[in-house]
Symmetry: C2
Subunit: 308 residues, 2 copies
């Protein structure tokens, strides 16, 4: 096999109460990438469609992630040509850079005969995240590569586990096309928080994980509450509180800010509810004069997929 | 049925990273109670063996818990005589008051023909806890009544769920017979904590719950870490750090302070490891000149049990 085409999913990091530790993978939106193996050493980004991103592999997250993989693989006389079709808008908060990094390392790993496990690939993709945001975080690349819900327990040592995904869980995401810088979204957070709030948050995180294993949609719904980050970051997102309230009235289990925003996600039981939530998001945002896109998808339990 | 005998288990609240939200039930130590139904209205505590506690039902946690149940049941012309055999030392940090409250309401509920579910009984037993500590907390009475690992997600509204218990999980508890007042143990805690510590804690709590569902003993071990409460409260417990270190060297998965102390618990995979941990606890404590008791038991997945 000398050429491969992969689908690289968008992802939702944080997942309400799971700030900095829980993420999930989407079926839509997602990028596509074609990676070709060549005998000419080096990594070449031949084209990027749909976004204005650097072709220089040292400045492109896919290039950096592949480079991290090749450093461990210690191969000589092997090179890769990468073509990227971006559907995930950079800066949307649904893991645009993570998708490129994750797709790139999964594709290259396939072309090399799978020397690494999916879990091992996470570390290489994290180097792409380091380039994109200055921090080698895993909360988007882990679900992008592994699929489903993932939990990053710790970074030193890196400890990632997959959490059971209930069959009938769907996600609706709205991406308001405004700019929220990850660095700004992080700066406004407090360095110290109330113990009582922290206890509420870890009670909710524990209940979310239990609810996912129990496939208990009511418990999932009750636990999708973020008392620490959302009250602060939501001020950056137009009509956030109205959006959330109306989505829950329309049948959403709950939701919150996707990553550091500006996208907002809602979980629902079943496709019908997820589509009602999408219609509600549209109703709330249509009058606002802000461009936006809405996506409906089941949770993606496979992660990056080979599609050709 | 006019008379019933129940076993009411000791419990471990907090469970390392699960401060204020997670608890578990033990098979040892536990109290026994004989409750008799009578046609003479009122609650009478006829005798308490093994501890010096008030016989006045308005000042006894079992009496108060039964009274809370009867207020909801609205029965007239029914009374109860209670005899308590205490094996759980008051002030040990392994749910002594919770066992009395939990045992009392389960026994009375049986004698009345089970008008309430076990989950409904938790609320009545919490009134016993209110008498004992001033706060109607559920982190001991929930596991005592429901068995296994329990999670108290919130109090308003009260939201309790049972978490899966791996078959081969054992607990070793050491009770150093020194006094640590719950109120003192709570006062030394900080009202504000670092966001970075809180994130570590909820990553660990999420991983503990995932590890229990996965029956993944390694993940359980890695997640049994409390970066917030243990560093402060452990100063109240003699030789805490040596004890913990040596227990882990002896094969314990991990552990921490039971409730607000002074007891310390360790989880192990299998009885053999749990007994090695008990021997290690003995080795550490024997030279200290402090009286202590050590208990080894599998996790109790049934909660309060009818034994006669």
């Amino acid at each position: 096999m000398d050429s491969i085409k992969v689908f690289a999913p968008g992802t939702v990091a944080n997942v309400a109460c799971g700030f900095d530790v829980i993420g999930l993978a989407l079926n839509a939106p997602g990028d596509e990438m074609i990676v070709k193996r060549s005998d000419t050493p080096g990594i070449r980004i031949s084209a990027i469609h749909g976004a204005d991103l650097p072709l220089d592999p040292a400045k492109n997250v896919a290039g950096v992630a592949i480079q991290a993989l090749l450093q461990k693989y210690e191969a000589t006389k092997v090179g890769f040509d990468v073509e990227i079709f971006k559907n995930i808008h950079p800066g949307s908060g649904i893991g645009s850079s993570a998708a490129s990094s994750a797709g790139a390392v999964v594709a290259v790993n396939q072309l090399l005969g799978e020397p690494f496990t999916r879990k091992q690939l996470v570390r290489f993709a994290m180097e792409g995240e380091r380039l994109a945001s200055g921090a080698a975080h895993a909360d988007n690349v882990a679900p992008a590569i592994l699929g489903g819900f993932t939990l990053v327990r710790s970074y030193r040592p890196l400890d990632i586990t997959t959490i059971h995904t209930p069959k009938d869980l769907w996600v609706t995401v709205i991406h308001p096309q405004i700019e929220v810088k990850t660095s700004d979204a992080r700066e406004i957070l407090k360095q110290k928080i109330l113990m009582t709030d922290a206890i509420k948050q870890w009670g909710n995180v524990a209940a979310l994980v239990a609810g996912l294993y129990q496939e208990n949609y009511d418990l999932i719904s009750r636990s999708l509450e973020d008392v620490i980050v959302e009250p602060i970051r939501s001020i950056l997102i137009p009509a956030f509180h109205e959006l959330k309230l109306k989505c829950k009235e329309a049948g959403a289990l709950g939701g919150g800010i996707s990553g550091s925003g500006p996208s907002v996600f809602m979980l629902s039981q079943g496709e019908e509810n997820a589509r009602k939530v999408a219609a509600t998001m549209n109703d709330v945002y249509a009058p606002l004069g802000v461009d936006y896109k809405i996506y409906v998808s089941q949770i993606n339990t496979e992660g990056v997929k080979v599609i050709g």
